[in-house]
Symmetry: C2
Subunit: 473 residues, 2 copies
């Protein structure tokens, strides 16, 4: 529990000649009082502390006895002697800790975390710990572990049509970091973003000094003519599956975008949840068609779990040295063990098996949501059902989707209004994630959603107290 004489920095040299016991009692009492020794903390074994302080064991035993009589410490069975006095709880738990949402959270972008392949991950970790060289645990290549980059290059080539060698790839802490590093390179530049498009991404680009320029998205995806008119040198797109509409960039638009890039533009391709695909042919990555004009970024956040913070950035050669430098200056590179574990999951075929396993589950959840929408929101127009982890419902102009989201929250269902993710005008809508919940929960959520929308404006039945909700968001 504690490191010998580092324990409270008790200095054997500071041990007074006189009453060793009272000196030690005072030191421990002070530490318990000011919270340095939290309740439940195990104290060192008397033998250990006595040796570290070069005092007789009897001194420590006597000191512990005094504190025991004061009720400050207690014998805690196998755990040994622990602190019994409680410091104020507020000091121990972080402020604003995320408690689970009391209702049903249909926010998009989170996969079915209950399906995370824990056994396969542990097996892979065992293999890695049994085989990794000591040097693999040291300061590594900031661009990422060579073995993972090799596996990722192969995987992305086979599954996404990405044309890259391991040397073209930087391992990053998710797409968020990938886009952040890129934005630092582009700081000061005007960068086209899809409108509608991810609000989080827009805010992140702006944070790093990029000027986001909205470019309209229609039923065929990004309006490339509007992009050309905007005069921006760079554009960020989600061609395989647009967020939040789910539109796939149409073939003629793909061609037009590649022509725009050939004319000097740089395309940043966020390969947003491309691995979740139900009723349509796969769409390969743009990067494979123009490796010199496209930066490709993706992650395992949607295929495994966002909490892994593992992704990749494939950039044209000209950008690679500066991206590697920024990654180094940011964190010296991703953590070694998770990189090696992911490499093992790819090489062993476990990642592929996992994706095969979850796909029918996700599809069933999507179908449950579609059924429920037909029943409970018959007037809503549903989009983006062919792939991904969420869908979009839009309504006739006039409705305020923020108010609809408010009503839904009051009914215990958390949804995102489409207008959050849009700069320009457009129809009201709601973004509904279905991947994280069972079909029954989804039916329940959509039923509540429908009821909340049919209720006359202004009438609310708070299921979750509003203040409480605000605190948790």
């Amino acid at each position: 529990m504690v490191v010998g004489a580092d324990f409270l920095q008790l200095d054997p040299g500071a041990v007074p000649r006189g009453s060793l016991t009272s000196w030690l009692v005072d030191a421990l009492r002070a530490a318990i009082a000011d919270g340095r020794l939290a309740v439940g903390t195990r104290l060192p074994a008397s033998r250990v502390l006595a040796a570290d302080l070069a005092v007789s064991r009897g001194v420590v035993v006597a000191a512990y006895q005094v504190l025991f009589d004061d009720g400050l410490i207690r014998a805690d069975g196998a755990r040994g002697t622990t602190v019994a006095a409680a410091p104020p709880r507020a000091e121990v738990l972080p402020a604003g800790r995320a408690d689970p949402w009391a209702g049903i959270d249909l926010s998009p972008g989170v996969p079915d975390l209950s399906a995370f392949p824990r056994a396969a991950w542990l097996r892979a970790e065992r293999t890695v710990l049994a085989s990794a060289a000591a040097a693999d645990l040291g300061y590594g290549d900031p661009r990422g572990n060579a073995v993972l980059r090799h596996e990722l290059a192969g995987w992305l080539g086979r599954v996404r049509g990405v044309r890259a060698g391991a040397e073209d790839l930087v391992v990053v802490a998710g797409v968020a970091q990938g886009l952040g590093l890129l934005a630092q390179l582009l700081a000061g530049a005007r960068v086209g973003i899809e409108d509608p498009g991810s609000r989080g991404t827009r805010e992140q680009l702006a944070y790093w000094g990029v000027e986001p320029v909205p470019v309209p998205v229609d039923a065929d995806g990004l309006d490339v003519e509007a992009l050309a008119r905007s005069g921006v040198p760079v554009v960020l797109v989600t061609p395989a599956h647009h967020f939040p509409t789910g539109v796939v960039l149409a073939p003629h638009r793909r061609r037009a975008l590649l022509e725009w890039a050939a004319g000097g533009g740089l395309v940043v391709e966020d390969d947003y949840d491309a691995e979740h695909r139900y009723d349509r042919a796969p769409v390969s990555a743009l990067q494979g068609l123009a490796p010199d004009r496209v930066v490709h970024t993706g992650s395992v956040s949607k295929s495994l779990a966002p909490g892994l913070r593992l992704g990749w950035l494939v950039a044209p050669r000209a950008l690679q040295p500066e991206l590697a430098r920024r990654k180094r200056m940011t964190d010296l590179g991703n953590a070694a063990l998770p990189q090696l574990v992911l490499a093992q999951l790819i090489a062993s075929g476990e990642l592929e098996r996992h994706l095969r396993r979850v796909r029918p589950r996700q599809r069933a959840r999507r179908d449950a949501m579609l059924d429920a929408l037909r029943r409970h929101l018959p007037d809503a127009r549903v989009q983006g059902v062919a792939a991904g982890l969420h869908l979009l419902v839009t309504f006739p102009p006039g409705a305020d989707d923020r108010e609809l989201a408010e009503r839904a929250r009051d009914a215990g269902v958390l949804v995102q209004p489409l207008s959050w993710h849009r700069v320009g005008d457009g129809p009201p809508g709601l973004v509904l994630g279905y991947a994280a919940h069972s079909p029954d929960r989804i039916r329940d959520a959509v039923a509540r959603l429908g009821a909340s929308m049919r209720r006359p404006s202004g009438v609310r039945q708070p299921v979750v107290p509003k203040r409480n909700t605000d605190r948790e968001r």
Copy 2:
């Protein structure tokens, strides 16, 4: 390995009426030719690919047969059918991959990685995977997992005298990221740095827009009077164990520094390898004496492994919101599983047991280096032996320590010249890390070092080809 019909993005709709077999053969041959299918890649089972493409299994079997006859794929026993043709190796392996140094690397800052507690780590990971909630794998608090922050706050309080609740602490990807986030906050400001001091840290601060102002370090540590004269508002110090001299900030200097801080200065305390301590009483963190004036940062890079990229940043309340925001915008927070594993290692006492185990090993290595230095470099002055993972030898003025390091490298021993880590003038010296090597290797290295220095200037006996060395550094 591959995801069904995502495999090469083969589109069942694109399957021609005519010869299905030759269409599939062409598609696979192209993929092998351009490297999308690297050598050794497993092909999908014919049953699987046939189902995904909605063609008869015979078509796939026939196509595989053609490629087999061409020698492009082969039957690979239990692994199934794999690609036999080799793409150019250069495309597969990353450039500048770090091969092990041919000689003995005495660069400082790397612990004994062969002592990494692999079994304990795996046990903790099993516990975590068995008990973690699904939500723990989602997007978490960017400041870090609440359980780890709670454990770290308790640990730092007990072992380092840090006064902080879990809410005062941000989990970061090592001290490098902690200082980087802080430097972003301080961009444009003049920040005092120790001279000598870590060259890497100096370069990182400058990278993020801070102006490093050298402040001299003498036998008592940082010269606080010089600090006051410099007029900088912030200073970065390593009070527990100065890098590279190993000096401990003297009590009167600690008092003076805290007075300087009380007068409005901000102290950034890099708790550099404070856990490695051999012949001296522990020194508690400055932060515990002035939590409102000191930012404390540390990591497990020296106690466990740098490859974990796990550290902490404890800042005064006023700085916490902006630091948390920057951490969020940088990577949305550290990876979840390693955080939970570290929390488990602290709570179970494994981290303490590990430190107790390695300390005598490190001490034996230090003693071996001291013996060898007395024998082979009798004129060298040795400093910083009471703690840490390295020591410093200095020489009478006149010698060029960069040339000495060059000679050592030619003799197969990698050391850092003191002048690398210094802005102003001072005696020549060499920084010698001892933690990463066995006593025998250390004696060998110091013997070679001594011989290389006694050799008349200009005369070299290259042990490791120079170009080769340069490539590997």
